[in-house]
Symmetry: C2
Subunit: 321 residues, 2 copies
């Protein structure tokens, strides 16, 4: 965690006085997420997660994130439910920082998803897209395709330092993505960070989705593209077509893809790999040497970019079947 | 946490296969302790803490620590109960490191203990000393009085860097402590790290003690001396006699101090402050710049040392009453 708020018992008491959750019974900081400080909180009313939002989450985005979680939970989607304070607000304040208390979800994330997990994850993603329909707020994807070139403008040296010649390769990728980026696909609320560590399973069954702090409005198929990158690559860098097929098949049990969405998957997957490559490259350079929490390796996504660049139809496994 | 083991779902499954605790339902790293990696683990059998022991805990000491916790729990002392594996062993292995699963304890530690908390803490400490009677294993206090001079031998420069002239002051303190260190006091199992963050309360009542990884055999009154330092100083550096009186009174509701023990409290408290000053000074220098987890400030204990040095009878509040 780049920043971590450590709350005193008095601060916790002051915060809980603004809720109807009874007295605290247990309280422990948990190592979950890198953007915020999270605590396991047990009160007389049950088990909860308390999140204190640190500077990487923009305060003005919180009503969207918390409102979305509440909406999804109210529409039977398994995600943490924000608890309202006595004033009805989902966002309270502790030590001058925004904070929220959400229900605790049982479940475990998987480190190396099987094809079975991918199928379940696909189902969970489609259910999210459907449950979010009608949510009345919107948020632009500030890490969407149009943001990549400006983001890369400050990272040419970092790319070269990572791998000589990489800067020109990325610049060419960005041109190609800008020219080919699909328009007019069905849009809606996307999770935009649907990685295995944000999905809980109970046994082999999808159980819940967490961490909606990148959620925004974008092409629904872009969420699938993020997930194909996050769930369907093997540790050796190869793309697992069986897993990808399972993920999309799972998705389509709840929401069928249009032919335009399916045709767009290669470029969307290439773009999704670019988005995570660029933010990892940025964080890589911005993390001080000796810091405890290592930033995620941008080379993992550089390798995924190379796969999408050289074999763009690989994710069109449906056409190869 | 200086070291943190992050377990995969496969590693967790392999570990749990060696226990009779059912399938995992939830698993989260928790920010508790700096010596080990700790996880909240929910299984079909209940809530547990999984601890993976990192290099600062000596593997050969683990049978003492875990055996003591089991003994205390079996003797109705509220502390985490180690769960035996299917082979009966309290210590299993995960990713080549020793690990233990203990019961989850509800309760909250207090950041700024009141006199009432101190009284309860004193009761909890005496109950620990009594419950440990008869425990058949022993462990030398490797941070006891005879260890301080050797430990300080490598820290003269660090002391001077902290505060010019401090090296000579500490050396004089060590001579004084060596000459005055009490012998022949009642000994037994001591916690040796009985700080507020290692004691849980439910409301204002003592609930449980955790973190027995400094426990050893030493003078029982030394544990009180550690606690007087840890619980009875105000944030402004002043010693709170009301809190100290409450702590000892709470202790004596379960175990009366002998006159020799009471008379030894000033030098024991001075010595306990020295022990924590020296280890904090050591850790201060050993932590790389830029590390996320800041080591604890040795100056806090330098100030406590100064109080014990200049007003050694301050903790003899009983005689001032």
């Amino acid at each position: 965690m780049a920043v971590y708020t450590d709350l005193s018992d008095e601060e916790l008491d002051l915060l809980l006085a603004r809720y109807d959750l009874g007295a605290p019974l247990a309280f422990k900081g948990i190592a979950e997420g890198v953007e915020n400080s999270n605590f396991l909180l047990e009160t007389e009313a049950g088990h909860f997660i308390l999140t204190v939002y640190e500077k990487r989450v923009r305060k003005e985005d919180l009503p969207f994130f918390l409102g979305l979680m509440r909406w999804l939970a109210d529409h039977d989607y398994p995600c943490a439910t924000p608890m309202p304070g006595l004033d009805g607000g989902l966002i309270q304040e502790v030590r001058g920082k925004p904070a929220a208390i959400v229900s605790f979800l049982p479940g475990l994330s998987v480190r190396r998803p099987s094809a079975r997990h991918c199928r379940e994850a696909g189902e969970g993603l489609a259910r999210l897209h459907l449950a979010a329909e009608g949510f009345p707020m919107a948020r632009t994807n500030d890490l969407g395709q149009t943001a990549w070139a400006p983001l890369f403008a400050g990272l040419h040296e970092a790319a070269e330092a990572l791998k000589p010649g990489l800067s020109a390769t990325i610049a060419a990728d960005l041109d190609r993505l800008a020219a080919a980026w699909p328009q007019g696909l069905p849009t809606g609320i996307v999770h935009a960070d649907y990685f295995p560590d944000n999905v809980f399973f109970q046994g082999e069954r999808f159980a819940a989705t967490i961490d909606f702090y990148f959620a925004c409005v974008d092409a629904l198929a872009y969420d699938i593209a993020v997930a194909l990158n996050a769930w369907c690559f093997e540790a050796d860098g190869s793309f697992n077509i069986t897993s990808a097929r399972a993920l999309v098949a799972g998705y389509e049990t709840h929401r069928a893809l249009s032919s335009a969405e399916r045709a767009a998957l290669p470029v969307l997957a290439h773009g999704a790999a670019m988005r995570f490559f660029l933010t990892r490259l940025h964080d890589w350079g911005a993390t001080p040497a000796g810091a405890l929490v290592k930033p995620k390796d941008p080379l993992e996504y550089e390798r995924k970019l190379a796969v999408h660049r050289s074999a763009p139809d690989l994710v069109l496994f449906g056409d190869q079947a």
